[in-house]
Symmetry: C2
Subunit: 659 residues, 2 copies
């Protein structure tokens, strides 16, 4: 240790005081966790974590994740005390108030040094796994001189009860992520009471069974904490340090109980804690000597950051590493030749296959991509462009066999995107977005470029039946803020959607792709990316326009068939391909009114729930969809059974027009 225990103790007590006072002032929050882990965090920050408060975006910094995000005052205290520009003491005084970057749970978009948004338990740990994978991949690409850092995670009992932790630690063990160290706040307390209310698990044995190095420390003994961290740093496997702590440590009457977990301690207990800790200072006052000691914690990182910058400046990789960490795509349009080839030779393929074709181009042109599938590689068509597998023996690989771990995959992709330097994509069946939904939401909230390759996007998957057939999924994902849900109709739109997804630097995209073959609808070259407007007119009415057919993905060709029959009856019908409602909603009113004009009957056609389509069709439109679960049968039989044929749809339209 760099400092003697008494000085360390004062540093840790500064965290305790800030935490209990901030929670009390806010009259809400979680003092127990920061007070319990204050000693461990002080050791980590003082002697292990590589960081430079003046360069919080330094590419080779260690990543620190507070997976137990409810203990947010811990990270706010650490960032403030160690000299980050924010949060200021005023920010901390405004903990949980409107406009303060010190939100109830840490938000990556509010503060430098908050590497990811946490609070939904278990996901911080899983994002840490993704960060550690990205680190090893970039290390293999750029070398030890430029990429060589660790990932540190503080996880609580809740993080380790959530199912996602099983998926995450399985990945970490399998990939031998030795630079990942998890500090488990082993306080045996949850909100409801003792952990023995709900679990009897030997967590350490479980981690060992999963390929982890495991050690234990007294979380209130600085030397013992340091000993355990030394062990963890030395281990070649990922490490779990079980830090035996007392929740709310320092609050003499409440510590060790769930009373400290999620509520202010109250004035009396805070006064008692001040006495117990020997902390004589007023709320939000940190004395100079403690401030000075905290200021020292960034010194080693500041030097390391300067030395790293010198190495980078001298490196042949400088421009490329900077480009990748900035998330900027290379110049040029790698798709140009491919798009031209599609126009020259139209293809009838499933859009999942079209996605593979696009990925062949992308993965060869763009070294940033790192892709995979949750054990559906051959179905999701995600392995393309000749990329090799990412393994413990070959971290340079860019293809990930995620295993049957949809949630873990999605969360790890968030971690990769947050780490920077890579653009992750991953596949499963669209219906299993349900398993990954918690992480998809964090892709959106954290504003990360994560690309979800979700195939088998309707009853068109056929025989696997209702458990595998998405019905409500497109609607449920469209309802989520800051996600692009794109459902391309053919090869050309699929390529356009990939282009759009790659260009979204601040939001995730979901590509909903068909299992079944679809005819190419786009047969003429276009100067612009038509899908980029969200919805566009694929075909104009020939007779007087009375109908606008609005369809997506595999139903666009069906809409076109309906249009042919309507025109044959003298009913003019536009066909609109609504690739992405979110992008369409972002267009100006004139464009939207042009594409979906008043007057005409609006008909939505999508092999999923009709929920939400009234936004485009109004109360007097027609919504062709499926508001029940599917069934097991060949796709053609299902489309017929559920009325997705021109024969079933056209009469409804004609009848509606005559109303």
């Amino acid at each position: 240790m760099s400092l003697d225990p008494a000085r360390m103790q004062s540093m840790a007590n500064a965290i305790r005081a800030l935490s209990m006072d901030a929670v009390q002032t806010a009259n809400s929050g979680h003092p127990g966790m920061p007070m319990g882990m204050a000693d461990v965090a002080t050791v980590l920050w003082s002697d292990y974590l590589k960081f430079d408060p003046a360069a919080p975006q330094w590419a080779d910094r260690d990543r620190f994740i507070l997976s137990a995000g409810h203990g947010s005052m811990l990270i706010y205290s650490l960032l403030h005390l160690s000299g980050y520009a924010a949060p200021t003491i005023e920010d901390i005084k405004n903990f949980r108030q409107i406009g303060s970057p010190c939100a109830g749970h840490p938000e990556n978009f509010l503060l430098d040094g908050v590497e990811c948004t946490t609070g939904p338990l278990g996901q911080g740990l899983a994002m840490g796994v993704g960060m550690a994978m990205a680190e090893r991949h970039l290390n293999a690409t750029f070398g030890d001189d430029l990429v060589d850092h660790k990932t540190w995670v503080i996880a609580g009992d809740g993080c380790l009860m959530e199912g996602i932790n099983h998926e995450a630690i399985g990945l970490a063990g399998h990939h031998k992520l030795g630079r990942l160290n998890v500090l488990w706040d082993d306080n045996a307390i949850t909100i409801d009471g003792g952990t023995d209310l709900s679990t009897s698990e030997d967590i350490k044995a479980r981690f060992e069974a999963t390929g982890w190095h495991v050690t234990t420390c007294d979380g209130h003994d600085f030397a013992d904490i340091a000993r355990a961290m030394d062990e963890a740093v030395a281990a070649e496997r990922p490490s779990l340090i079980a830090c035996k702590t007392v929740i709310g440590k320092g609050a003499p009457n409440k510590q060790g109980t769930s009373a400290t977990h999620g509520a202010p301690l109250g004035p009396d207990e805070i006064a008692a804690a001040r006495a117990e800790l020997g902390w004589t200072h007023d709320p939000f006052i940190v004395p100079g000597d403690v401030k000075s000691d905290w200021a020292l914690t960034g010194d080693a990182g500041r030097s390391a950051s300067r030395e790293w910058q010198a190495r980078l400046d001298a490196s042949e990789h400088k421009a490329e590493l900077e480009r990748r960490m900035a998330g900027i795509l290379p110049d040029g349009d790698a798709f140009a030749d491919y798009m031209a080839s599609l126009i020259d030779e139209p293809q009838k393929v499933a859009t999942r296959k079209a996605s593979e074709m696009a990925l062949n181009v992308i993965n060869q042109a763009l070294p940033d991509t790192i892709g995979g599938s949750a054990d559906l590689t051959g179905s999701n068509n995600t392995k393309a462009g000749g990329i090799e597998a990412f393994t413990a023996e070959n971290y340079a690989g860019r293809y990930l066999y995620w295993g049957i771990r949809e949630f873990g995959m999605a969360a790890a992709m968030n971690g990769m995107a947050l780490h920077g330097g890579v653009i992750p994509y991953g596949g499963t069946f669209l219906v299993f977005t349900d398993y990954a939904r918690g992480a998809i939401r964090l892709s959106a909230l954290q504003q990360q470029r994560v690309i979800y390759v979700m195939t088998h996007d309707s009853i068109g998957l056929g025989e696997d039946g209702p458990t595998h057939q998405p019905i409500e999924h497109l609607a449920s994902l469209r309802a989520m803020p800051n996600v692009l849900v794109m459902r391309p109709a053919d090869t050309v739109e699929t390529a356009e959607c990939w282009k759009i997804a790659l260009e979204q630097s601040d939001r995730p995209s979901i590509l909903a792709l068909s299992r079944q073959g679809l005819p190419q609808m786009r047969l003429e070259a276009s100067d612009s990316v038509l899908s980029g407007r969200g919805g566009y007119r694929l075909k104009s009415a020939e007779a007087e326009r009375k109908v606008v057919l609005i369809a997506t993905g595999s139903e666009v060709h069906l809409a076109a068939e309906c249009a042919v029959e309507l025109e044959a009856q003298g009913i003019g019908a536009d066909v609109v391909s609504m690739v992405c409602t979110e992008l369409f909603d972002e267009q100006d009113a004139a464009y939207r009114e042009d594409i979906i004009p008043g007057g005409a009957l609006k008909v939505s056609i999508e092999a999923g729930t009709t929920f939400g389509w009234e936004r485009y069709t109004g109360l007097k439109g027609l919504n062709i969809g499926l508001d029940r679960f599917g069934a097991s049968a060949p796709a053609g039989d299902l489309f017929a059974k559920f009325g997705f044929t021109a024969e079933a749809i056209v009469p409804q339209i004609v009848s509606k027009i005559q109303e």
Copy 2:
């Protein structure tokens, strides 16, 4: 074993033949798993599983769950061969075809003997945990004579990689569910290839760490399988039997590889398998001697079922057990006095508190309920009516400390409901339906009465911030088929919603409840359950009606405030409380038109996404909502910031009317 190995082998080979032939005929499906586990299943069915093919709903039968649901031909073969009325051989010939009960994945609503719908991996195992919990609870209630059965689960590698398995086995170990036995199809193969592509875990050690008894067997050695099952039956802890198997066993060129996992073997390999197995019969032909041996498997169960029926007929518990297993509520209206008391003394409380008040009545009147929370007992207000904790020492308890396991809780509740005899409810924050969503969907698909108590249902939860504030959740759940999403506005509506939820014998309900206090809006007694119509007129326009305000939950009182201000300006405004859009949509057109009439301006007010509200407001209505993520601050500040005040809303309405 009751039969000699040669006869057992023929029985097992009958499964193999039916499975490979059915998959081939369907030209899709998964032959590898049924062929690999045929021997294990034959032993289980012959000598361990307690079942009566003639009484598939026998309350005290063992429950058998094929958690690896893609291997559906295994269970179809077993049910057919052992003499269940269905599936017939014709049904099996029509595997995966429209109208056949032999769907791609097993569906509980299509076949007796399919205890639950499986396919979404890991959930079968978790439902098995719920069934085993229900069994112990009913055993504690009704005694060994009437309730004493086991739960058997076949799980694959995928089930054990999914995070939910961690949550499920943690519950089983903690609750010492010794009657739960999991047969792990340990074939080391997934769709993408060997399990070593994605995992390095010591699964047996992990189960041991979680409080399980673990044993291993050669899954192709009948005596060894029986030895392991004997051990499992004897163990007081839940048991994992690692059955070392060869996937696709019997297909000489493809067995042991992922080629057998999810595709037909092809005619050549099927011919080779016939030779390898010595199975000389045509497809779908089972010879008489093998049929006879299979017919014997139900004998023990038939006797046991008759004896059980005699015990039941003689038991004082007969009527009550039959009522509970039939899922019929007791006569009488337990709520009458409570409802009257609310009218007498209106209360301003959060609807989560109102839910607790309703539960006080319910849990005292209805012994069927078994409730809990995923470690948010004090926040979800789910512990009510004096119920005790369900623990390994007190299975009679009716309160479940689920731990931080939302997905595991929801899936286990499905298992409980499917088992019958109990009505499960469970709580977490509404936002964490994302974690449980895969299981909520299976509540709906399986048509089960599971009640989700989802509190903190909007930005009204305040300081915890965007990770904890649902935005898209109400819409995303409304989009799901066969679920009631109910958002009551006050104490009276909350009680009504509980009443409605309890009465839904074939679908789940989600109660979305506020953290914050809400005034009681319903001040007059009503003869009918007004919420039962989904939406109803809470207040009629006084001036000429120009506006219909449609609000839910915590925004109903806001709508009423807006109405007051509008009326003050001479603008007549109805207020509709839209408690449950699904129920409203089920009303006849005249009722719906009466409540939401043409002509008037329709305004939706809900503190969540506006997505979906155009169904009620049309294109020319006004949708007051929140189409972005929330923020961390006190609730009042957030409602003001995001425009949920009469001052912010009324001018928009006035302006819209003047358009």
